[in-house]
């Protein structure tokens, strides 16, 4: 059981990077960006191809991040220059990326079983032998350490970035484009930057997930937007704060981890794995509907909305 929870937390810390990317578009830019379903796989594909080609896994992960930023740029240009609504722009990129991802990989999946990942060096840390003696899977511990470290670095970066003049402008663009233009900021540029940053993080997360599961698969992105949204919402509801951005970033990491723990527990309780996506979709639907459900509750009690 400990190993299951530990594995869930470790996996959650990798998905947390993706969750922060989804947070940027969904909450800060106020765009539901579906291109992440494609860019997650692009990240995994680029990472896998680079690693099997002999590249350092950290460098390969950075390459995935850059590839993701290009994906975000594509969605952004479709939206800002060609005036395609953001939802459709995201879907177009997502579909296009399916073919592109196959091209990058050359086939439907790439195994990473016999190569080093970013987690490999950590498995040889001195205390790992002791943990192994107690029956703990050291691979999960290594992933957890690495994942939390990456979450911390990404959170710190985002905290800094969204406090800068450019970062503030991006946040304002998600609030009120009319005002932002009146204050002399090019809203198109801000949307592009936001989408690039978001998809970069998502792709980086994809590369890490691929290294964790030891393969990259062209289908692995399916439903990832819903997982990302679920993590964002769970994080906000359970750990969020409207006051502090630091706290919000922490909530994203904790939200992604909580989601993975919930999934691990329901699987352990006997739910068929095939039903997972249905379960996730229902969970997200309920979370998104919470304000409406609450207002029904007030009506039933005879109060006003």
């Amino acid at each position: 059981m400990l190993n299951i929870i530990l594995g869930a937390i470790a996996l959650g810390s990798l998905w947390a990077v993706m969750t922060m990317g989804v947070y940027i578009t969904y909450r800060l830019l106020d765009i539901a960006d579906l291109s992440v379903e494609g860019s997650l796989v692009t990240g995994a594909a680029v990472g896998a191809v680079c690693i099997t080609g002999g590249m350092n896994p950290w460098l390969a992960t950075i390459m995935a991040l850059l590839a993701g930023m290009v994906c975000g740029l594509a969605t952004g240009l479709l939206h800002t220059k060609l005036r395609i609504p953001p939802l459709l722009a995201g879907i177009l990129t997502m579909i296009a990326l399916y073919s592109i991802n196959l091209r990058i990989m050359g086939r439907a999946n790439i195994t990473l079983l016999h190569v080093d990942s970013v987690f490999t060096p950590l498995q040889n840390l001195p205390f790992m032998a002791g943990l192994e003696a107690q029956g703990i899977m050291t691979k999960n511990v290594a992933i957890l350490i690495c994942g939390l470290l990456i979450c911390f670095v990404v959170s710190a970066f985002l905290y800094w970035f969204f406090g800068t003049e450019i970062g503030c402008s991006i946040r304002a663009t998600g609030n009120n484009q009319q005002m932002v233009r009146a204050l002399g900021i090019n809203t198109d540029t801000m949307i592009l930057l936001g989408l690039m940053l978001s998809n970069g993080l998502v792709a980086m997360s994809g590369a890490l997930i691929a290294q964790n599961q030891s393969y990259a698969d062209v289908q692995m992105g399916t439903g990832s937007i819903v997982i990302g949204l679920a993590s964002v919402i769970i994080g906000e509801v359970l750990f969020g704060s409207t006051k502090s951005f630091k706290r919000t970033l922490l909530a994203m990491t904790l939200g992604a981890i909580t989601y993975r723990i919930i999934i691990a527990l329901v699987l352990k309780a006997g739910m068929p794995a095939n039903d997972l996506k249905l379960f996730t979709a229902i969970t997200v639907a309920i979370c998104l509907a919470l304000p409406q459900i609450k207002s029904w509750g007030r009506k039933l009690k005879g109060g006003h909305n």
Partner: protein
């Protein structure tokens, strides 16, 4: 300070809804002019302000602000010259951001955004002192989200934001129309004070004839996308609403239609 020459704008060209919103409108403002703009619905008041701000390109004519021809510039590039307050109090500020963050965005109007920190400690003091002059108690709520403020408070904040970096031209687009009378009077008073203190050049669109007469040093009336009445100086000082109505009837060359502006 502002030179608008012979500008035209037609919306929905070639459709049944074709609308000649601006019809060869020309207007020259001297530095320090505070001009009130009146006219019925669809006369082109807001359209004129939007043309100056560059919300969309005009069909022909030219717009020069403080010696800079801005006719071909996009909206965000003209912002360096313009302070703007909109009719809808929600449009002037970012609801999910703090009061001080909104002010910090406004302080950097027209400047290049960099990776420097978005707000400095020194600015915070400046904002505190400035908000105090509004006398709305906002100076103690620098870190409150703007979404928590009332319409009047947001409009006063937007005024402050529009003038934080002195604009060549301040555009007030019926900025008190959405407020209750008492709040509207307060926001107008703040507008007057800020314009006088900073010696701003301003254009104020209003539906209220009385406000149009009692504020500013010049009054223009628009009809069908051009200026039909232009009153300044001594003549404006002694103007009454009745005078204005009579002048309008003569200028328009027809009896007053059942127009909402009369109810203002």
């Amino acid at each position: 300070m502002l030179k608008i020459d012979n500008i035209y704008k037609t919306f929905n060209i070639g459709t049944i809804n074709e609308k000649h919103a601006l019809n060869g409108l020309s207007l020259h403002l001297q530095p320090g002019d505070f001009v009130t703009v009146i006219g019925g619905n669809g006369a082109g008041k807001s359209t004129m302000l939007n043309a100056i701000s560059g919300v969309w390109p005009i069909d022909s004519g030219s717009i020069v602000i403080n010696g800079n021809d801005v006719t071909a510039l996009p909206e965000y590039k003209r912002a360096i010259h313009l302070g703007r307050v909109f009719q809808d109090p929600m449009l002037g500020s970012a609801a999910n951001m703090q009061i001080q963050e909104n002010l910090a965005l406004a302080l950097r109007r027209g400047k290049k955004r960099t990776l420097r920190w978005g707000i400095t400690a020194q600015e915070r003091e400046q904002y505190h002192d400035l908000l105090k002059t509004l006398d709305l108690g906002l100076e103690d709520r620098l870190t409150s989200k703007v979404g928590l403020l009332s319409g009047g408070q947001r409009q006063a904040l937007t005024l402050l934001m529009a003038t934080l970096t002195k604009p060549d031209l301040l555009l007030l687009d019926e900025h008190t129309a959405a407020l209750d009378p008492k709040t509207a009077a307060k926001v107008l008073e703040i507008s007057d004070r800020i314009i006088a203190e900073n010696k701003l050049t301003a254009l104020m669109v209003t539906h209220n004839m009385h406000d149009a007469i009692t504020h500013g040093n010049r009054l223009i009336m628009l009809k069908d996308g051009r200026i039909i009445l232009d009153i300044a100086g001594e003549e404006k000082k002694h103007l009454t609403v009745e005078d204005l109505l009579a002048k309008f009837a003569i200028a328009a060359g027809e009896e007053m239609a059942n127009d909402r502006m009369l109810l203002g």
